[in-house]
Subunit: 354 residues, 4 copies
Amino acid sequence: MLVVMQAHATEQQVEAVCEAITNLGLRPHSLPGAQRTAIGITGNAGAIEPGALEDLPGVAEVIPVSKPYKLVSREMKAENTIISFPGSPATIGGKTLAMIAGPCAIESREQAFRIAEHVANSGAQFFRGGAFKPRTSPYAFQGLGEEGLRIMAEIRDRFGLRIVTEALDTESLALVEEYADMIQIGARNMQNFSLLRAAGRSRKPILLKRGIAATLDEFLMAAEYVMSEGNYQVVLCERGIRTFTDHTRNTLDLSVVPAAQRLSHLPILVDPSHGTGKRNKVIPLARAAVAVGADGLMIEVHHQPEKALSDGMQSIYPAQLMQGFEQLRRIAVVLGRSMPEPAGVPHLREVASR
Amino acid sequence: MLVVMQAHATEQQVEAVCEAITNLGLRPHSLPGAQRTAIGITGNAGAIEPGALEDLPGVAEVIPVSKPYKLVSREMKAENTIISFPGSPATIGGKTLAMIAGPCAIESREQAFRIAEHVANSGAQFFRGGAFKPRTSPYAFQGLGEEGLRIMAEIRDRFGLRIVTEALDTESLALVEEYADMIQIGARNMQNFSLLRAAGRSRKPILLKRGIAATLDEFLMAAEYVMSEGNYQVVLCERGIRTFTDHTRNTLDLSVVPAAQRLSHLPILVDPSHGTGKRNKVIPLARAAVAVGADGLMIEVHHQPEKALSDGMQSIYPAQLMQGFEQLRRIAVVLGRSMPEPAGVPHLREVASR
Amino acid sequence: MLVVMQAHATEQQVEAVCEAITNLGLRPHSLPGAQRTAIGITGNAGAIEPGALEDLPGVAEVIPVSKPYKLVSREMKAENTIISFPGSPATIGGKTLAMIAGPCAIESREQAFRIAEHVANSGAQFFRGGAFKPRTSPYAFQGLGEEGLRIMAEIRDRFGLRIVTEALDTESLALVEEYADMIQIGARNMQNFSLLRAAGRSRKPILLKRGIAATLDEFLMAAEYVMSEGNYQVVLCERGIRTFTDHTRNTLDLSVVPAAQRLSHLPILVDPSHGTGKRNKVIPLARAAVAVGADGLMIEVHHQPEKALSDGMQSIYPAQLMQGFEQLRRIAVVLGRSMPEPAGVPHLREVASR
Amino acid sequence: MLVVMQAHATEQQVEAVCEAITNLGLRPHSLPGAQRTAIGITGNAGAIEPGALEDLPGVAEVIPVSKPYKLVSREMKAENTIISFPGSPATIGGKTLAMIAGPCAIESREQAFRIAEHVANSGAQFFRGGAFKPRTSPYAFQGLGEEGLRIMAEIRDRFGLRIVTEALDTESLALVEEYADMIQIGARNMQNFSLLRAAGRSRKPILLKRGIAATLDEFLMAAEYVMSEGNYQVVLCERGIRTFTDHTRNTLDLSVVPAAQRLSHLPILVDPSHGTGKRNKVIPLARAAVAVGADGLMIEVHHQPEKALSDGMQSIYPAQLMQGFEQLRRIAVVLGRSMPEPAGVPHLREVASR
């Protein structure tokens, strides 16, 4: 915290501010300059509330300084966090990119299996699908619930894909934890602190999506909530922020990838499907996400997007996934990274030979 | 939904789009124009997903039209909703403005009573205070929990003020419902659909705060979630949106007040404390909120804001509350509304004479 | 400028940063804290560019501190600037609110006179009208040019109203200066620095509208541009900022009024017409603007808005202006301010008796 | 334009709206639906102003439909515009990416030549440098003016690089046109319509940067202004938009690249320097820009960024440029495009052999 005094502030006013800081149990450091005096504050464990400092006589401005996060910070842990999944060669945060694909929502066993086969063939290591759907309208399709989870568990058995699905509340969290390999906390719940704490008590990795109006600090603080409860397996995911633009549903903020990687050791993925909301923008932005240095992608795919019960506009066709992955693989190499090969990959063959 | 065709689209392309619409179980209405053809879609119960329409040959654009909300809509119910509170003359949505004041968080019995006395003297009908606090940092003060609720219940008994406090999750909702007169759903939970549904099953009025990046449609849809479960007592509350500006913590969007009142019969309050985040802006924006036509205000007040455990920067002093209310009263009259008188008001005297 | 070091930064790294600062001709002030060291920088005349500091080993963050504006600052000049107009009792920035009204564009002599009569009757002291119109489309009506200016000069003579109109470039600025009493610089030109400098060499007061994405600092710096050339008669005008919302054309940021008044001695008006873009929101937001403490308003009015050549959607009817002003007058009184009375006011009678 | 009626609107109200539309000289198309009636409007040459329609009895909403741009539109011209430069193999919009690099500002002949040598060696075909600088503060370095232009002309002669530099106003435009190969219109001037028109009368290609709060439609309309005056050589450039985020100076909106390419035949470049404002983000976002499909890049480079007179924070070192280009070349190939080779490339050798 830094208090900037007005140019004409008197010595008495500077002293009064220092005294107020001391009374808060903190340490003031007066810093006289050519034009004005600034007063630094130390001694605070985390972020402090500036309280009445701003309204003291002679004060021009109060500027917060210390970052409030700890466990997520690269200062705390310099090397990248790599998350692994029991019984699978898949990792997130390592040299190989993590590719998650699947439909927005699980609509039926047949639909899910149809799409999962394409996903497995593409080389993706993870299958996504919503069983509990957060919908803007209470009258929209809300997901199949536990039935959807069961279908996804079958898909893991059949295709060797690891399962990622969203928990909407502490009730569904317990169910999701039982069936899934990674638990998604959606953008709308990024500051649902009760849910974050519950996720922190889970033993499964957490995929934390950035809120549509979350700053990077708030995003990292949400991860800190999870970690502060003891679950250190957190994967960040950029999925577009809300801006004034109207040519896409959200504005994909790719600069947050290197920014998060600089501040934190946690892996960060990009979701170009929600990030654009338009099918014809998904693969171009997926390429950009790999090129910017993301640790992986999350993509919505549907074999009949025009009949999808949700997010059909942004789901790509299986053929687009296959072709897109070809381009992504070649871009990954430029960054010294790799992407799993399509079909016939070890984990698939293994499953097939059982 | 409206499909706008490209200028050079062929008749075959127009027909193909119409057929695709029919296949979705909807009705296409072709609308040839001088430059291009547009195709209207009807027959949808609520909002529909445009699916693959946008990518059909010849399509320039797909534009959503129908509003998806029903119960919140003024088309559904023309007259204003007025919410009343058993055993109190206080209402929200009627001619008299609803004034809610109190500290950000209940910190202790003494602190709460000190402030409540000022609140009661000011003429406000409602006391606010946080028992369960949503904090960006897991290391910040999280509220007193049920102990805080008990203190507020005592305040109701002592001062006759109705109690408003936030529920963070379905667990705290049950507790809050037991103690409070109105249950607040915070901005960060505006799209916590599980919590909204639970609130919809409550018998107490719900104060629903607008999310910092919520459009008016999303805000009304969140209210629709509550109402769709049978609880029609919903009060909207504007509390600032996130924008690029940095001179206030949020940007208070006062235009949403007449906009919401035009579309919906629900009352709408304004919270200038969170809406600005700066003590010296609270009363000016409170005046503006009454002048724009809000049905009431929610204001944070603290007798020692510099020592407040949260939001001290935006809490006003009790003296500011008293003086501010004087101005607000006179502005209310200009709009044909009234505000409760300070001290000695009937419900206070009643309590005092018990 | 403040350099925040990483928690684990070495003493050598701190020293290296201090040396780099010294090499820039500035003074470093090392400020060791419990967790980390911060280094304050002084000696800079204005704002400085942080250059390579951020990338030096051990640096966590670089935070700018000093405000770069001088002449606009209240630190420079404590008392409010009041602008007066030769031959008229009208002022801007004083106790009496400045009311500017008129059509978006001057379309014809008849249209302008029709509206001007209503404006004069309302009690407004200023008539606005566009002769040079900034239009998003090159094919839209661009204004009558000098013919429009001549019509407005006649209106001044006939009704005693002072004339406000926009200059789009240095060419039109010379013309506008000749005919008008106050020269408007539009929102799109707020950072057209050539035009600002030219305005600074004018002898007429400048009405400077805030850019739709301008921070308060940038807004004040634009005024500083004008003042730095010697023209100290600058009037600020908030007219809505661009945000994610869609229920209004822009989001009127009323909090900028007290914020600007705190930092600067310049008067600030509000334009609720552009600020909302919707006729039915203009008067409610006008009331809010007076209530928040604005020094006046700028409102678009048209006797046949449905036939207006531009901005018809946001122009109010003359009857709305009259009724609205009645409410505004009563709100102004609550803030210890006044508004000119309708019709029969001194300056009108004077003109009439000539 | 589409008028959506309220659910309970009467037939008389629908007819009255249709009549109002007819009175505006347009054609109404009534479109009755299950829940409500919509009325399409055709017959308008360009965009029309909805005027008073929104306030007619029974009207729920008015929705604009037609896109107002023509010459920039891909409907008008299906094939990509490719811009060539006399005496140089460089093009913009073709298979080979256009690479523009150089300092923010020309500070001296020595500085400019030093940097230009690095730029030429990197393989970039264009040299950028500011002679007239738009600065937020009137007290900041404003550029060398014509002297800067002369230095750049020498650089063209010496290194064979084509020159890109900004014109701030119609005065500097004439000078810039004389010396430069492509004229930049900066983000702050994107809606300086007088300047756009003047640029439209120039014979040199125009590099049009997107305004920080410009929608894609407004961006394209600005290009339409230039083209409507007869200059069809327009290059679009995304350079970051203003959002709520604070980890970068602006938010680079890469989705605008495929979106613009879908709607328009004009080439579009990306400026990751202004788009991020941070040196360590420039190359990652440059990679992403090539991967998303941009037609080229504009990058700020400086041999001593810590001493740069402007934008030092975002200028990369020459070595970063060389290494970055290596990565970009390999990504370009994945998209079926190419990038000029470093040093010893034809156009350089040609110059050298003169």
